[in-house]
């Protein structure tokens, strides 16, 4: 594989759902590249399509249009058998460690299942299975005595470690992390984030890190993509985004994070109203209704993503002229 070639290329990815009241634009025209060993953070409010995008990339949900190239292979064009092969290298960690693990399987059964499905290990080789399971449990910080425990015996933090272990079992290159720490307490959240960082370094993993927690995403990502109602509104380096947010939505979003310091009083940019419906969205900028800077031109035509500074993409016709 070429070093300068992105590991993952997402091109004009779309996912629409047909609902009784019209077409729901869950993901609309998302394009980005992701290089080996890097982390792309995806942020946005609930319902903006971040999880659907993650699933569409893995084809857990069939994309409506667009291309996903993984290591040069077009994922969207694969047949079932090729897809199964590819899934060896593309894994996912789910949000809810309570709902995403089979309650009737032990820790080792859960972690070993991907290896058995992919025929990496003989399912009758009990000693081999246990040895491999213990290896992965050690990697994700689960005590060996838990090897035959069931999920209900474990707390949220340990369950999420099982979820991570299951995703790592096949030695993948790329993992979609769909809000992996949202369901956890802060002290446990830090443990899991550190673990994910460590295995990333050890195994050279590439992450697509979906979250709504902006302080976590800044800490964890190299680049950040901000989504609003299915569309990309801004994408740039993590530090750059926090230092110089250019889209009015990003600005409002960042200003709304409560700062854990009573000496700092937040200068909030008030947003009118709430997220509008993604069913049959308006033609122009989808944020225009809530935007403090909106003008007529915003609602007339689709707003293209522009590269205003090297590596800093913004979808706003006024970006660059607005105060930062």
């Amino acid at each position: 594989m070429n070093e300068n070639q992105p590991l993952l290329q997402v091109q004009n990815l779309k996912k629409y759902f047909q609902t009784p009241s019209g077409t729901l634009h869950a993901v609309d025209d998302v394009t980005f590249d992701l290089y080996t060993g890097k982390t792309l953070g995806v942020v946005g409010e609930s319902g903006c399509g971040k999880s659907t995008m993650g699933r569409a990339i893995l084809r857990l949900q069939e994309p409506t249009a667009g291309k996903v190239l993984f290591d040069g292979v077009d994922v969207t064009a694969c047949d079932k058998r090729e897809l199964k092969k590819l899934r060896e290298q593309m894994q996912i960690i789910f949000q809810d460690p309570f709902a995403s693990i089979n309650p009737r399987m032990t820790v080792s059964q859960t972690i070993m299942e991907p290896l058995i499905i992919q025929n990496k290990i003989d399912k009758h080789d009990r000693t081999g299975l246990e040895k491999k399971a213990l290896e992965i449990m050690d990697l994700v910080g689960l005590a060996p005595r838990l090897v035959n425990s069931y999920p209900h015996e474990l707390d949220g933090g340990r369950r999420q470690r099982i979820g991570i272990g299951r995703a790592l079992a096949l030695n993948p290159k790329f993992i979609v992390c769909d809000e992996p720490v949202s369901a956890l307490d802060v002290s446990i959240q830090a443990q899991i984030l550190n673990l994910m960082q460590d295995v990333q370094k050890q195994m050279g993993l590439t992450y697509l890190f979906i979250t709504h927690d902006l302080s976590v995403v800044k800490h964890f990502s190299d680049e950040i993509l901000v989504m609003y109602l299915g569309q990309m509104v801004e994408k740039c380096g993590a530090k750059q985004l926090f230092a110089k947010p250019m889209h009015p939505y990003t600005q409002a979003l960042l200003s709304a994070i409560p700062v854990p310091d009573p000496h700092v009083r937040m200068q909030k940019i008030p947003l009118k109203g709430e997220l509008s419906s993604p069913i049959n969205p308006p033609v122009g900028c989808r944020f225009a209704k809530r935007c403090p800077y909106a003008c007529e031109a915003c609602s007339e035509a689709a707003v293209p993503l522009r590269e205003l500074e090297p590596g800093h993409f913004v979808a706003c016709i006024k970006a660059g002229e607005l105060p930062v």
Binding site: G157, V186, S187, K239, A252, P260, H263, E274
Partner: protein, 327 residues
């Protein structure tokens, strides 16, 4: 300032088939008139049980209030009969629950749900109560025309506003907000918190804000109490708590959150897990996760130390160590 609510040595246990859950263990907490007190802690620390205890809503069985007092304006709420409690609940002390999706009745329109709360405490005709309900909706930023709509027609943020309208309908003295914004997005959270702050001032309420989000605490509270293993481990005014937190658990909590204004390579988590509330450690509840723990911490239970200026901490380290008073 006057103390409006004083919780003294409260003990609440849940007696289950798998053993006794020690949810709240000798908890002391006081709420001053007109202040916002933040109660911070993790899952299973006993935050919600405390709130339910104050409201007289601990499910019995399995919940049992084993001892203590909850003094509201001179009366011990634990000695009140059910009928007396019904007059307090909603009228004097109101509560907002965490999940707006499940705390509203899905088959009754929101206007009626607010009116119901009003009618149960005030002698008003249905029409007058509906009128007041509409006023309340306007107060929380929902147009009165929507009073006839049902909860499923509202978004999460709007539902939480309806819940707040119900809580405030009878103009209570104390509002207990149990994670009021945890289920909401940040921009909506900011709207709801601002609204709560304004309403608290207009109605001269005192508020107990239960949360695990230290950012929310820093931005909205006057005083903070940190709860761990069913007891308060540190309490102080918000500036002291963030600048000069002393308890190792408070330090660990503040260290483990990623900060926006600092770049760190690795986060500093608190090692280990919350102790199982059926088997709390004998000595200090935090000893198994504490870097400073010694033999005494494991065997002897520390008392709350008063360091002056309202700063209290439950840790042996500060018995001998001099603490500079916070500016």
């Amino acid at each position: 300032m006057n103390t409006i609510l004083d919780v003294k040595d409260l003990v609440i246990h849940y007696e289950t088939d798998d053993g006794c859950v020690y949810a709240v263990n000798g908890l002391d907490l006081d709420l001053q008139e007109g202040e916002t007190l933040g109660l911070v802690g993790e899952t299973g620390a006993g935050k919600t049980t405390l709130a339910r205890g104050i409201m007289g809503l601990v499910p019995d069985p399995p919940g049992r209030i084993r001892g203590g007092e909850i003094i509201y304006r001179g009366t011990d709420l634990l000695q009140c009969s059910n009928a007396e409690m019904r007059k307090v609940r909603g009228r004097k002390i109101a509560m907002i629950f965490q999940d707006p999706m499940t705390s509203l009745n899905p088959v009754t329109n929101v206007g009626l749900q607010i009116a119901e709360a009003i009618q149960s405490h005030e002698k008003l005709s249905r029409k007058a109560a509906m009128q007041k309900a509409c006023q309340m909706l306007e107060q929380v930023g929902i147009p009165a025309e929507r009073a006839g709509e049902y909860p499923h027609q509202f978004s999460g943020g709007m539902k939480q506003r309806v819940v707040i309208a119900i809580a405030l309908a009878c103009n209570p003295d104390i509002l207990i907000a149990d994670e009021p914004t945890t289920a909401l997005d940040v921009t909506i959270q900011a709207q709801v918190l601002d609204m709560l702050r304004e309403l608290r001032e207009t109605y001269h309420m005192s508020m107990l804000l239960i949360t695990h989000d230290l950012g929310v605490v820093a931005q909205t509270c006057d005083r903070v109490a940190v709860i761990y293993g069913g007891e308060i481990v540190e309490s102080a005014d918000v500036y002291t708590l963030f600048d000069q937190h002393l308890h190792p658990y408070t330090q660990g909590l503040l260290d483990s959150i990623p900060k926006l204004n600092e770049d760190v390579e690795r986060l500093k988590p608190i090692e280990g897990m919350m102790p199982d509330p059926t088997q709390l450690p004998e000595g200090c509840r935090f000893c198994s996760r504490c870097a400073y723990a010694d033999e005494r911490c494991r065997t002897e239970h520390p008392n709350m130390l008063d360091l002056g200026n309202g700063h209290k901490v439950r840790c042996f380290r500060y018995e001998t160590q001099e603490v500079e008073p916070h500016e």
